[in-house]
Symmetry: C2
Subunit: 349 residues, 2 copies
C-alpha cells in the first residue's frame, strides 16, 4: 500500500518525468504566446514524443493536481501559480545574451556619481534589459556608524541636524526650539553631539545632558529627533525603474491601476521585497507574496551582498507569465555587478 501510494503520487510536489516534461512544455509555450496551450502543440514540441491523446490524459491529471487550469471546456490549458512554481523550481539557470551582458558591463564601467544616482540608473538599466518594472532597494543605515554630526542654524529657532553615516549616507533632521538659540550655543551643541555620537549606530542609546540650559536642550532635542527615525523606516531607499512597462505588460486597465498604486507606496514595496528575501525565495508568484492586488504578478528578487552583509536588493516585477530565465539572469548579473561596484572596486571609479 505504501508502494502504491508512492507510485500514484511519488512525493507531494514531485512529478514523474513525463508529466514534468509536459508541464514544462505547457508553461514555456504559454509564456511565449500568452494563449491557452492545447494537447497537440505540446505533443509536437521537442521534448515530448507521445501522441496528443496521451498528453491529454496527462493533462487532466496535472489539472487534478492543481498545476494547470482550463479557462473553459473547449480551450487549452493554462498554468496555475503552482504550475509556474514547479517550472521555476526546476529551471536550469540561464545566461544573458552577449549583447545584454555587454550592456551591463558597459554600464558599470562608465557609471559615476553619488550612490543614489547610480542606484536610480541601475534601476532603469534593469528595466530596459528585461522590459519589466524594476525595483532597487538600498539597505538602511541602522548598522552603519555615525561619522559626523553637525548642527547648522537656519533661523533662530530652527536648526538643521546633518548626520553622516559610515555607509556614505547623509540625513538631515529639523530641530526646532522654543527659544532663540545663538550661534555660540549651536556650535557648542554641535561639538558635544559629535563627541557623543561619533562611532555609535542608531541602535546605541546615549547619555544626554540633563541640564536645562540652551546647549543641553539643543543636544537632547537633536539626539531624540535622530533616534526617533528608527520606527518608521530604516533609511532604506527605493528606486523604481520603468513603471511605464506596467502598461505594456499587463492587460486590463484595472490590473495596471492596481499594480501602479502598489508601486506608489514605497514602504509597501520595501516590505514586499524584504518579505520575499526573508522567506529565502528568489521568486514569488501570484498569490505567494500575499498582496491581493499583485495576484497577477510575479516578483523576482536578488540580494546584493557586500562583504557578507546585506546591502540591499534588486527586484523585477512582471506578469506571472514572465520570462523567468532571462529575468533571473538579469537580476542576478546586475546584483553581482552592483555588489562589486560598491565593494572593492569602489576606489577605481
Amino acid at each position: 500500500m505504501a508502494r502504491r501510494a508512492a507510485k500514484t503520487s511519488p512525493s507531494p510536489s514531485d512529478l514523474d518525468a513525463r508529466k514534468a516534461t509536459i508541464l514544462e512544455a505547457v508553461v514555456a509555450e504559454h509564456i511565449d504566446t500568452a494563449q491557452p496551450v492545447g494537447s497537440s502543440s505540446v505533443a509536437h514540441s521537442a521534448d515530448v514524443d507521445v501522441s496528443p491523446a496521451t498528453v491529454r490524459s496527462e493533462m487532466v491529471a496535472l489539472e487534478r493536481e492543481g498545476y494547470l487550469a482550463q479557462p473553459h471546456t473547449s480551450a487549452g490549458r493554462v498554468p496555475t501559480d503552482k504550475g509556474y512554481r514547479y517550472f521555476v523550481d526546476h529551471l536550469k539557470s540561464g545566461v544573458l545574451s552577449s549583447a545584454q551582458q555587454y550592456q551591463v558591463r558597459d554600464f558599470f564601467a562608465n557609471v559615476r556619481g553619488e550612490v543614489e544616482d547610480v542606484l536610480e540608473k541601475t534601476s532603469t538599466l534593469l528595466s530596459e534589459l528585461t522590459s519589466y518594472t524594476s525595483v532597487v532597494v538600498s539597505a538602511g543605515h541602522s548598522h552603519a556608524s555615525i561619522l559626523s554630526v553637525q548642527l547648522v542654524s537656519l533661523e533662530a529657532r530652527h536648526q538643521l541636524l546633518v548626520t553622516v553615516f559610515s555607509d556614505g549616507s547623509v540625513v538631515k533632521h529639523s530641530v526646532n526650539t522654543t527659544f532663540d538659540a545663538n550661534f555660540v550655543d549651536v556650535s557648542e551643541a554641535s561639538r558635544q553631539l559629535n563627541a557623543l555620537l561619533i562611532g555609535t549606530t542608531l541602535e546605541h542609546r546615549v547619555q544626554v545632558p540633563s541640564r536645562s540650559d540652551g546647549v543641553a536642550t539643543l543636544v537632547r532635542e537633536s539626539v531624540s529627533v535622530l533616534h526617533a527615525e528608527q520606527p518608521t523606516t530604516d533609511g532604506e531607499q527605493v528606486f523604481i525603474g520603468g513603471s511605464s512597462k506596467v502598461a505594456e505588460v499587463f492587460v486590463g486597465v484595472e490590473t495596471v491601476r492596481k499594480v501602479l498604486s502598489i508601486l506608489e507606496q514605497e514602504l509597501l514595496v520595501v516590505t514586499l521585497v524584504q518579505d520575499i528575501l526573508n522567506r529565502g525565495l528568489s521568486v514569488a508568484i501570484g498569490s505567494e507574496h500575499g498582496y491581493e492586488p499583485l495576484s497577477a504578478c510575479a516578483v523576482i528578487v536578488a540580494p546584493v551582498t557586500i562583504d557578507g552583509a546585506s546591502a540591499g536588493a534588486v527586484g523585477l516585477l512582471g506578469p506571472t507569465r514572465m520570462k523567468y530565465r532571462e529575468a533571473l539572469a538579469a537580476a542576478g548579473m546586475v546584483s553581482q555587478h552592483l555588489a562589486r561596484h560598491f565593494g572593492g572596486e569602489d576606489d577605481l571609479a
Copy 2:
C-alpha cells in the same frame, strides 16, 4: 467693409455671446460625459434657449472656426484644443467643496517632517483631491547661499563633501583623490572650504589655492565638484503623486504608456512645468506644451511664491477633458497653503 469684417468675426479669438454659450455648453457636457455632444442636448441645456436647428448652424460655424470637431459625420461635436482653450480662458474661477477645503486645511495643520516629506505628501494630497496625477516641483538652490560645508572622510581616498544651503537643503558629493588623505588634512581642508564658501551661492566663482599639497588639492577638488552641479539640474526636486490615476483617467493602453514614460523622466517634467510657467500660462492644453506624447493631456500649474520669490510649483496632469474649474481651484489652494506653510508660519510647526 471694415464693419462687415468686424461683424462676421468680431475679433480673432472672441465669439459672439450665443456662440460662446453654445461652445461652453458643449465643452461642459463633453467633460462630463466623455461623449460627443449633439445639438439637441445643447439646445435643452440651461443657458441656451434656441432650437436644436439653430444650435446646429452655430455649430458648423464653430467647427469652421476650429473650436469643435466631429469624430464622424453622424456624431455630435467634440471640443478641439482651441475649444478647451476658449473654455478655460473664460472660466470664472471656482472654489473647492467645503469638505475638500477642510481636507487641505487639516492636512497643512497636521503635516510635519522635513521639507521633502511634506512635499511628497502634498503631492499625494493634491492627487487625491482631484483624482489626477500631481506634480510638485521645489525650486533649485542656485540662489541659496551656503551655510556650511564639511568634508568627511569615508576612506583614505574617498571623502564626502556635505553642503548645507540657506534654504535648508543638504547635498552631498563624493570627492575622490589619487593619494591617501589623512585626517588632519581633511579637517584642514574642511576648515578652508568653510572660510571660502560660506555665504556664497553656487553662482559665485571663488579663488582656490593653487598649491599642490594634499589640503589644497582636496579644496580644489571639492570646490570643482560642488560647482560642477550647475549644468545638469539646479537641485530641483520633483514629487509625483498618484501616477496610478493615469490608468484611470486615460483610455487606451498606448496613451497610458506614453504618459507614464514621460512621468518617469523627472527632468522632462521639471522642464515642462517651468516652460508653462515661463510662458505665463496656468494651463497648457493638448498640443500647447509641445510634447507630442502628452497631446491627450492638459497640464495645470500654479507657482508657489514665498516672499515674492519663486519657491517652486504644483501641477496637475489630466486628460484634455479634465475638470478645469475644480483642478485649478485645488492647485491654487494647495499652492497658497504651501507658500504659507513654508513662509511666515514656519516656526509654528
